[in-house]
């Protein structure tokens, strides 16, 4: 069972690809959003496989719990109707999904087979990278500790920059979408 992480990785990667194709190609916006939920959950599982449980929990809480609910609210508030894809008919869309999934599955199966057959596994971590190793040995509390340490000491500058990026997002959205711009002056 040494290869269990590789097998899990390919399993979740496969589900993720299927879900993301579903997001793009499904006619019904609500179902597209639900496919996005599947995508986020499998992404969280991938974080879990990598040993970052805290990040996985956050992913589920923030994206699935908060953001997706907002998404669904917005979709429900505007009129829900099937998007009319004129070129990609319903059947064509389905064959497309099936075709792409089969393609993805074969590619991933080939990758998995090569991983299982080769002596040395896919070398995701080189001799320089100790980070993944050290993360695996951590408990959930340790995970959060490491994360906050990196966030507030080593990565303090990008962290602060992100806050400015978010501020720009808010201001930009207001400026572009506001009805009566005179009030802003």
């Amino acid at each position: 069972m040494e290869n269990i992480r590789e097998i899990l990785f390919f399993l979740f990667a496969f589900v993720m690809m299927g879900a993301s194709f579903g997001v793009i190609l499904h006619k019904n916006p609500v179902k597209s959003a639900l496919f996005l939920v599947v995508f986020f959950v499998s992404l969280a599982s991938l974080y879990g496989v990598l040993g970052a449980e805290f990040l996985a929990v956050l992913q589920v809480l923030v994206y699935v719990g908060a953001i997706m609910v907002l998404f669904l609210f917005v979709i429900m508030l505007i009129a829900v109707r099937d998007e009319n894809f004129e070129n990609i008919g319903a059947n064509k869309g389905k064959t497309m999904v099936v075709f792409l999934l089969v393609l993805a599955f074969t590619m991933q199966f080939a990758a998995l087979a090569s991983v299982l057959s080769s002596d040395d596994k896919i070398n995701t971590k080189t001799e320089y990278s100790k980070t993944i190793d050290s993360a695996q040995n951590l408990t959930i509390e340790g995970n959060a500790e490491v994360l906050s340490f990196h966030l507030f000491e080593k990565y303090i500058l990008p962290f602060e920059l992100i806050s400015i990026v978010l501020l720009i997002g808010v201001i930009g959205a207001v400026v572009i979408a506001k009805k009566n711009r005179r009030r802003l002056e």
Binding site: N123, T124, K125, T126, E127, Y128, S129, K130, T131, F152, E153, K154, Y155, I156, L157, P158, L161, I162, I164, V165, I168, G169, I171, G172, V175, I176, R181, L184, E185
Partner: protein, 524 residues
């Protein structure tokens, strides 16, 4: 592990801090001031841009500073302060996330110059278009701060976030004219392609991180240059990562296969925003592209050199060929900017044949900087002129007829910048091309030199068309464009300074060139 950060860390990002503080002050003024908010915003943004510009000069090599100002720089006695800052010119701050050295300093200087000129020109135009909101100036300051972080970042994470910080306000500015369909189109196109390119950049980052285990550019540089530590797997991952990052930044530089957004976005946005996009973003993206090539690409020259040559040659030919066919002036300059991106890209990876160890010819950095700086100044000048020229409908070649009679100043400035773009001797554009060709020939890149020469010749045709239409004595007595050139004091000031810079900066190229040369050694 030391504390969060120290005072020196804040010194290293002082220009950025000033710009962001200015932007937040504008936001604050909107809440506090009952009226005159826009005027306050113009004032604050102008002051903070000029202040940041002055501070960015402190990163230059002091010996070169003295050669510019004579003994004046050293005779000013602010006891300790100047020394303190020049001593700190080569610092790596925030645990290696950002640096402040001559490289960052010269490119910051170029960016802040262009930002200041755009801020000086913008108010009158925006007022006439009835789009004069204080948020516009706030967004411009954010763009400047983001690009300053972009070029001084030393960590792939910081580079990515500052890339977002600089592009997000530009998406907003591109869609600034809400009533115009083309502006909306420009905004959404720029947004989608920006997001698309960010995805490429992130994937490349992931590859580099996977191969080396660090995101610090200098650490990556040290690792990849040490052959013993690289296996064949990691080498292919690093090459893939660098290529993906090249694609991501190539969208911002607008080299050939990633150019598709340029004409529509440049044409659709308000012209003063186009000036911002064409100059600032180009400088920042070119600087970061060059920095990454300089630091990481050295051991993989045989794989990356062909990609660079393809980018460069194809952008030159595509940009020039399509620019020949344009009737709309803004679109013509947009396509010619792709050709100019090609000339710049020819500098991205020039091996030094004379020496064994240092693979990039040290003069490439200097030549590239001089070209980019001259190009950006001319771009601000030309789009600023067009912005004051156009009224309600876009400027075409047809409408330029007889412009030298109705509006001699705008005609002169258009002709001046067209000549500079074409590379006619006294203008700054000539010296840029001269330095590029010199470096290309010095390092035996005859093919690229030939391509640059041929394309400069093609370019002369459509730039000369601008002169032809503005100055040729058509039968018509008067031109159709009846607008006055530069209708405000600020735009007059920046127009005069810019045209002087385009005219005479070439003769003063020596100190700039030496400064840029010293910058190319800042990473060693």
């Amino acid at each position: 592990m030391n504390n969060l950060f120290q005072f020196t860390d804040l010194i290293a990002i002082l220009p950025q801090i000033i710009l962001i503080t200015g932007a937040l002050l504008i936001l604050f003024c909107q809440i506090v001031l009952p009226r005159g908010r826009v005027d306050a915003a113009v004032f604050i943004s102008g002051v903070s841009a000029i202040l940041a510009l002055a501070i960015s000069l402190f990163g230059l090599e002091s010996s070169v500073l003295e050669s510019i100002f004579g003994g004046a720089a050293s005779s000013i006695k602010y006891p300790g302060f100047l020394d303190e800052i020049t001593r700190l010119t080569k610092i790596y701050a925030f645990s290696g996330h950002t640096f402040w050295n001559p490289f960052a300093s010269i490119y910051s200087f170029a960016i802040l110059c262009c930002l200041t000129f755009v801020i000086l020109m913008a108010p009158k135009i925006l007022k006439e278009l009835d789009l004069n909101l204080s948020e516009a100036y706030q967004m411009m300051l954010y763009v400047g701060a983001g690009l300053l972080f972009f070029i001084s970042a030393n960590d792939l994470m910081t580079i990515f976030i500052s890339l977002e910080l600089s592009s997000l306000p530009l998406f907003v500015l591109a869609a600034w004219d809400r009533k115009s369909k083309s502006s909306n189109e420009a905004g959404i196109k720029y947004f989608l392609l920006g997001v698309f390119s960010a995805a490429f950049f992130l994937l490349g980052t992931a590859f580099l991180y996977g191969a080396t285990g660090t995101m610090n550019l200098l650490d990556i540089s040290a690792l990849v240059n040490e052959n013993s530590k690289m296996t064949s797997e990691t080498i292919s991952m690093v090459i893939g990562g660098i290529l993906l990052i090249m694609v991501g930044i190539g969208f911002k530089v607008a080299v050939f296969p990633f150019h598709a957004w340029v004409p529509d976005v440049y044409e659709g946005s308000i012209t003063i925003v186009t000036a911002l996009m064409g100059s600032l973003v180009k400088i920042g993206a070119v600087a970061v592209f060059f920095k990454i090539m300089l630091l990481v690409a050295k051991p993989f020259a045989q794989y990356l050199m062909p990609a660079v040559v393809i980018f460069s040659v194809l952008s030159m030919f595509y940009g020039n060929y399509t620019a020949l066919l344009q009737e709309n002036i803004k679109r013509m300059f947009a396509f010619s900017s792709i050709a100019h991106a090609g000339y710049m890209a020819s500098m991205f990876y020039i091996p030094d044949t004379s020496k064994e160890g240092y693979m990039i010819h040290p003069e490439t950095s200097a030549a590239l900087f001089f070209y980019v700086f001259g190009y950006a100044l001319t771009t601000v000048l030309v789009f600023g002129t067009i912005a004051y020229l156009e009224k309600d409908k876009p400027v075409t070649f047809e409408s330029l007829k007889g412009l030298s009679k109705t509006n001699p100043i705008s005609a002169f400035l258009l002709a001046l910048s067209a000549l500079s773009f074409a590379g006619i001797p006294p203008m700054i554009g000539f010296f840029g091309k001269f330095y590029i060709l010199r470096v290309l020939l010095k390092s035996d890149q005859v093919f690229l030199a030939l391509m640059v020469t041929i394309n400069s010749l093609i370019g002369i045709y459509y730039y000369a068309r601008v002169l032809f239409y503005t100055y040729w004595d058509f039968d018509k007595e008067e031109g159709t464009l009846k607008t006055k050139a530069f209708r405000s004091a600020g735009s007059w000031a920046s127009g005069i300074i810019l045209s002087l810079a385009v005219l005479i900066l070439g003769f003063l190229s020596d100190p700039i060139f030496r400064q840029a040369l010293s910058a190319s050694y800042s990473f060693r």
